[in-house]
């Protein structure tokens, strides 16, 4: 936090006393949290200004989570460039918020004054007072020239400008009143309350719609309801005050009672429709989600299974091809249906399965892999994988039937067994120039500190490959046996 030239965005942080406003503000300004808190407390003594400021920030500043979500949802904002002060600052900020830097326009002439006139060509850097490193009190001047609320406002767009204008209006009215101008407060305050309440409720509605009913979490909903209730309460209170201004309280209460009764009646009548509407909406939404899923599945099946089925029909006379196509398709479909996205990719079992699939595709005989335990692939394992590939190729080529592969990883030691049911062979009868078994399997394993054993009988051949846990991979040993 001491050298970063870019201010962190103003967000409410999780290390909080009340709402995380002070710590967020401190992080944004680069001040010690304690100073901010003390300042806030002092300001509270000045006619409650601190409380108001705090509450305002609380309402307007998103939490870190919300901010991240919002940015994910709206990568660019058309309003943002219009309210940015200076291009450089906007550019820097845009980097922070993940906008494309090229989207930042030059500041318009009517924009609020910039601290650095002509900053458009000025390279942003720590020497720029506007970017004084947080925590470095050379930035005091910048902070003084640009009070936090100013920065805050320019970061959060149209809504905040409106609110600021409203507050300025209120301040103006108050000042006017203090100066002796007769302001009809009795009418203005309720009207303002109604307006404010309505806009709070409408903003809520707008946001619900914007969220697209997609990722509505419970917390969001709770906050939404609270805001809606607050808006309603404000409106009702405003209307009440306005109405009661013209009559006595008894009359107002009677009127209120009557209104509530009428409202209740209307709700009672409309409720079934509203419920039906809601259910229809839900059903339609569910239907849309199902439709999307179905389309995705259909697309996948079309690209994979249907193509394969077409191929199988054309090759129906060739049993070998049909089996090979079917197995390849089965593998692909299984992977798509059941693959666990959270599982680490590139584990040893995945590699062995991939090699088995390759051999299966190449030679057409099924290669069944059973694996127990797993480990991350190290450099030494590459030799094991290559050797087992060679063994699978041999088993498939000479065994002529299903090849069984068993991988067991236990305590870091990996063992692979490759078994076929071919006629078998004797190692000493393999010609010297045939390098498959001797070099690619036994030699390779020994060079990398592993072991290779080949057992061949008339019932089939089994190749056993062993690779020790990474720590003790230095003692090569060789043992080959050939049973008749």
């Amino acid at each position: 936090m001491t050298t970063a030239p870019i201010r962190p965005p103003l967000v409410r942080r999780s290390d909080r006393f009340i709402a995380g406003v002070c710590s967020g503000l401190a992080a944004h300004l680069g001040w010690p949290v304690r100073n901010v808190r003390v300042g806030m407390a002092l300001a509270t003594l000045a006619g409650g200004a601190g409380i108001v400021f705090y509450a305002w920030l609380w309402i307007m500043v998103p939490t870190a989570d919300e901010s991240a979500r919002r940015q994910a949802r709206r990568p660019t904002s058309p309003i943002a460039p219009a309210v940015s002060q200076a291009p450089v600052q906007a550019a820097v900020r845009s980097d922070v918020r993940g906008w494309a830097p090229g989207r930042v326009p030059a500041a318009g002439p009517g924009m609020p004054t910039s601290v650095m006139p002509g900053a458009g060509t000025y390279p942003p850097g720590p020497e720029d007072p506007a970017y004084a490193a947080p925590g470095d009190f050379a930035g005091t001047t910048a902070a003084a020239a640009r009070p936090p609320w100013f920065q805050f406002r320019e970061m959060r767009y149209g809504k905040e400008i409106l609110l600021g204008a409203g507050l300025l209006l209120v301040a103006g009215i108050l000042i006017a009143q203090i100066l002796g101008v007769d302001v009809p407060l009795g009418t203005l305050i309720p009207a303002a309350a109604v307006l404010g309440g309505a806009s709070i409720a409408w903003i809520q509605l707008d946001e619900t719609r914007r969220a697209g009913l997609v990722d509505k979490t419970k917390a969001d909903q709770a906050g939404g309801w609270a805001r809606l209730a607050a808006g309603l309460a404000l409106v009702v209170a405003g209307v009440l005050v306005m109405v009661s201004g013209s009559g006595s309280w008894e009359q107002t209460w009677l009127a209120l009672l009557a209104s509530v009764a009428v409202l209740g009646g209307v709700v009672l009548v409309l409720l079934p429709w509203a419920l039906k509407f809601w259910r229809d909406l839900e059903a339609e939404r569910a239907g849309r989600i199902r439709e999307t899923e179905r389309a995705e599945i259909a697309a996948h099946l079309h690209d994979s299974v249907l193509q394969t089925l077409a191929l199988i029909q054309r090759r129906a006379s060739n049993e070998h091809d049909v089996v090979r196509l079917a197995r390849a398709q089965e593998r692909e479909l299984r992977g798509w249906l059941f693959a666990d996205p959270e599982k680490d990719a590139g584990q040893l079992s995945d590699r062995i399965k991939a090699v088995a699939a390759e051999v299966e595709d190449l030679l057409g005989n099924a290669v069944e892999v059973v694996s127990v335990g797993d480990t991350a692939v190290t450099e030494g394992h590459e030799a094991l994988i290559q050797a087992s590939r060679e063994a699978m190729l041999n088993a498939s080529r000479h065994g002529g039937g299903t090849v069984s592969v068993y991988l067991e990883v236990s305590g870091g030691r990996a063992e692979i067994f490759i078994k076929d049911r071919g006629p078998g062979f004797e190692l000493q009868h393999v010609p010297e120039d045939r390098l498959g078994v001797r070099e690619s399997i036994i030699g390779r394993m020994n060079r990398h500190g592993g072991t290779a054993t080949i057992t061949s009988t008339t019932d089939g051949t089994e190749v056993r490959l062993g690779y020790p846990a990474a720590a003790q991979a230095e003692k090569p040993s060789q043992s080959t046996e050939g049973k008749a």
Binding site: R334, G335, F338, A339, D340, E368, V370, S371, V372, G373, T402, S404, Y406, E408, S410, F417, K419, D459, E462
Partner: protein, 229 residues
């Protein structure tokens, strides 16, 4: 448990034909399987849903039920539910699970419900016939994949004496499971370990019992976590 005399080639076939019910929701697969089975196996009934299966099994009282793991109907429990619904017949009727899913969760669930074995649907006609005879004889049928599941679930270290007997495999059972996982037939396992086929069958049945009765909560957790196998 078994009345075979340790014959050299696969399970011994009794004099009378084995009566079998096939439970699978795909008619094509049922007819294909029927055609693949040895003529000495009599298919006395077929069923496509959980309810049909329970009714047919109760009526026919077959020796072996070839049971698909995934079935429509009932409460959605599939093959597991069929076994639960036929619990009173478990002493005379044996269940052999068939599956395309290969998901550990499904397979372990149906075995723990009481199935005597599990084979994949790509199995050949001869192999499925052998499996039916083996199950009819009271033995367990373990495919390499099921052996792999067992090794993964119980761990590859032999039992300590302190452990609950049901929670670990003995050294010998581990050896047998490893060989089956490596693709060995029972006969080859017997030859490799210098024991009789009968002894191999006894070990496999013991493993099946442990798989069914072990209260290890890890077993269920393991199966649930391991989605693709």
């Amino acid at each position: 448990m078994n009345t075979t005399q340790g014959a050299a080639t696969g399970p011994v076939r009794p004099a009378t034909p084995v009566r079998v019910v096939i439970v699978d929701d795909h008619a094509i697969f049922r007819s294909g399987l029927k055609a693949d089975l040895d003529p000495s196996i009599h298919v006395v009934g077929e069923a496509a849903t959980v309810e049909q299966a329970i009714a047919v099994i109760a009526r026919e009282r077959p020796e072996v039920v070839l049971l698909d793991v995934h079935l429509p109907g009932g409460l959605g429990g599939g093959g597991r539910e069929v076994i639960a619904g036929s619990a009173s017949l478990l002493s005379s009727t044996r269940f052999l699970a068939l599956s395309v899913s290969d998901a550990a969760e499904d397979v372990v669930a149906v075995i723990r419900a009481g199935a005597r074995g599990y084979v994949t649907k790509t199995i050949s006609g001869k192999e499925i016939t052998d499996a039916v005879y083996r199950v009819a004889g009271g033995d367990a049928v373990f495919s390499p994949r099921l052996a792999g599941f067992v090794l993964d679930a119980f761990g590859t270290a032999p039992a300590d004496i302190a452990d609950d007997e049901l929670d670990r495999l003995s050294a010998r059972e581990l050896e047998v499971m490893r060989l089956i996982a490596r693709g060995y037939s029972y006969k080859e396992v017997a030859k490799e370990l210098f024991i009789s086929i009968k002894t191999v069958e006894t070990h496999v049945s013991a493993v099946l019992r442990k798989l069914q009765l072990s209260s290890r909560h890890e077993l269920t957790k393991w199966a649930a976590e391991r989605r693709l196998l």
